[in-house]
């Protein structure tokens, strides 16, 4: 499974947890933004760490939502 992360900018409160968990995939600009990729495991850990539940992970092959 390859996961793709998207960030709900309206929900993002710029906590920055995603950046510290998966710095290759996320960066903090005015909100958190997706800048690259990471392993599925890292992406799940980042999504889980987001207190605002602003990260959605979808399966690149099927489009199914894997998180939340």
């Amino acid at each position: 499974m390859t996961l793709i992360a998207t960030i709900d900018e309206g929900a993002c409160s710029a906590h920055g947890d995603c950046v510290s968990v998966a710095p290759g995939a996320f960066a903090l600009e005015e909100t958190a933004v997706v800048i690259g990729t990471a392993t599925d495991e890292e992406l799940i850990a980042a999504a889980e760490a987001c207190p605002a539940l602003a990260i959605t992970l979808t399966d690149a092959d099927t489009g199914a939502v894997a998180f939340p």
Binding site: S13, A14, E29, T31, A49, P51
Partner: protein, 409 residues
């Protein structure tokens, strides 16, 4: 002695809010295999509370829209929902949770996430049109009362009271906001912000009465008139009470845990073995303040639910975050981060009259908290400024964009 059969008791989560849901989801996502049970006092499956004062009260969202997951998720993930059940006691030695129906549940790990209950006003007891706003049931009652042209009185101008005022105005309801303090939230956010809040609501057509205390109520089954100290009376069709909450934890009193807020560490551990707490019922340790502090913030409940699941699975906790919250009203997003208590300087940047500004709170020259009004994209920089520790912060604050900064106290 540990009996072999005990391992199958798994995790029992008491409470059905955000912390409970995030804990259950995290346990299952990370492969926890033993039973997970959620004991919830409400008859509703776990749901999200922030929309209650807004979309649900306005009639723009129903209960299905606020549920964290649909019924299928619980079945698919082996999370058993025990709804309409209250916890009444805890036998930590036997690792059993006692329930109000006379039954009990054994656990390997217990998560107390019973949240908080609204404080009530004795003078409004028994009136069917006077209620708090905490549950889906409360939001439905409010929705039924928000008839255009009717008059809603709100006691307490905290964020719940403010959001209810905004929703009610949006429904064409006449609103009186009654606040005991001279300026709402001034103790936390400062007098200037307190004044701004009063003006915001007045500009939106709310009658705001500050320094006003409710003395008595009159009516037959339904409140029809409120009397404030000083003799002012006002007629009303319904009353919402938003004067704060207290941890819903009286049932733990005999277990050695503090019913006024259960102290937890960064992993959500309490001082009782195999018992964790998360969310509004807890009193987390704040390393920046060096003490346990209750916050009642959604973000904190979200983090703590995950932290407890992580600890149960043997993982390390993430660093404790700064407190933060948000409020949506009149289309404005209010956001806050940090510890403003004890701030000795308040810097305002932007135009309060245009509802577009932020406030930086400093203590001893050091930024300790920030409030943004409809500036969500300022939050990241402000948060970093506050998190960056001590030295050099005066210079950092000066670099921080603040075109109209002025010291206002």
């Amino acid at each position: 002695m540990r009996r072999r059969g005990r391992a199958a008791c798994g995790v029992v989560i008491v409470g059905g809010g955000l912390a409970a849901q995030r804990c259950a989801e995290t346990l299952r996502r990370r492969g926890y295999e033993a039973p997970v049970r959620i004991v919830c006092a409400e008859a509703e499956a776990p749901y999200d509370r922030p929309p209650l004062s807004k979309d649900v009260a306005a009639g723009a969202a129903d209960s299905a829209a606020v549920r964290f997951q649909d019924a299928g998720w619980y079945a698919d993930n082996g999370v058993e929902l025990l709804l309409d059940r209250t916890a009444t006691g805890l036998d930590a030695t036997a690792r059993r949770l006692e329930l109000g129906d006379g039954g009990s549940l054994g656990y390997d790990e217990l998560v107390i996430a019973t949240g908080a209950a609204p404080r009530a006003l004795p003078v409004l007891a028994g009136y069917e049109n006077a209620f708090p706003l905490r549950t889906l049931g409360d939001a439905r009652r409010l929705r039924a009362e928000l008839c255009p042209g009717s008059h809603l009185a709100i006691v307490g101008a905290g964020f719940i009271g403010q959001e209810v005022a905004a929703t009610a105005r949006g429904r064409g309801v006449e609103v009186t906001l009654i606040e005991a303090l001279e300026l709402p939230l001034a103790g936390i956010l400062g007098a200037e912000v307190g004044r701004w809040i009063v003006n915001l609501h007045r500009d939106e057509g709310v009658r705001v009465l500050t320094g006003a205390r409710l003395e008595s109520a009159r009516g037959n089954g339904r409140v029809e008139e409120l009397r404030l100290d000083g003799g002012v009376t006002l007629g009303c069709d319904a009353v919402v009470v938003g004067i704060g909450v207290a941890p819903a934890a009286s049932w733990v009193a005999d277990s050695g845990l503090d019913p006024a807020g259960i102290a937890i560490d960064a992993s959500g551990r309490t001082k009782v073995s195999h018992v964790y707490a998360a969310g509004d019922v807890s009193r987390p340790f704040d390393p920046r303040l060096g003490e346990h502090v209750r916050t009642e913030h959604w973000d904190a409940a979200s983090r703590q639910g995950v932290a407890v699941a992580t600890a149960i699975l043997g993982g390390e906790p993430r660093p404790v975050a700064l407190p933060s919250f948000w409020s949506d009203q009149y289309g404005i997003r209010v956001q806050y981060v940090g510890h403003a208590a004890g701030a000795d300087e308040t810097w305002v940047s932007g135009d309060p009259d245009d509802r577009d500004f932020h406030v930086l709170y400093r203590r001893g020259g050091r930024p300790v908290a920030a409030l943004t009004i409809d500036r969500p994209r300022k939050l990241a920089a402000l948060r970093q400024l506050i998190e960056s520790d001590g030295a050099g912060n005066a210079a950092a604050a000066d670099r921080h964009e603040s075109p109209t900064k002025e010291m206002i106290r």
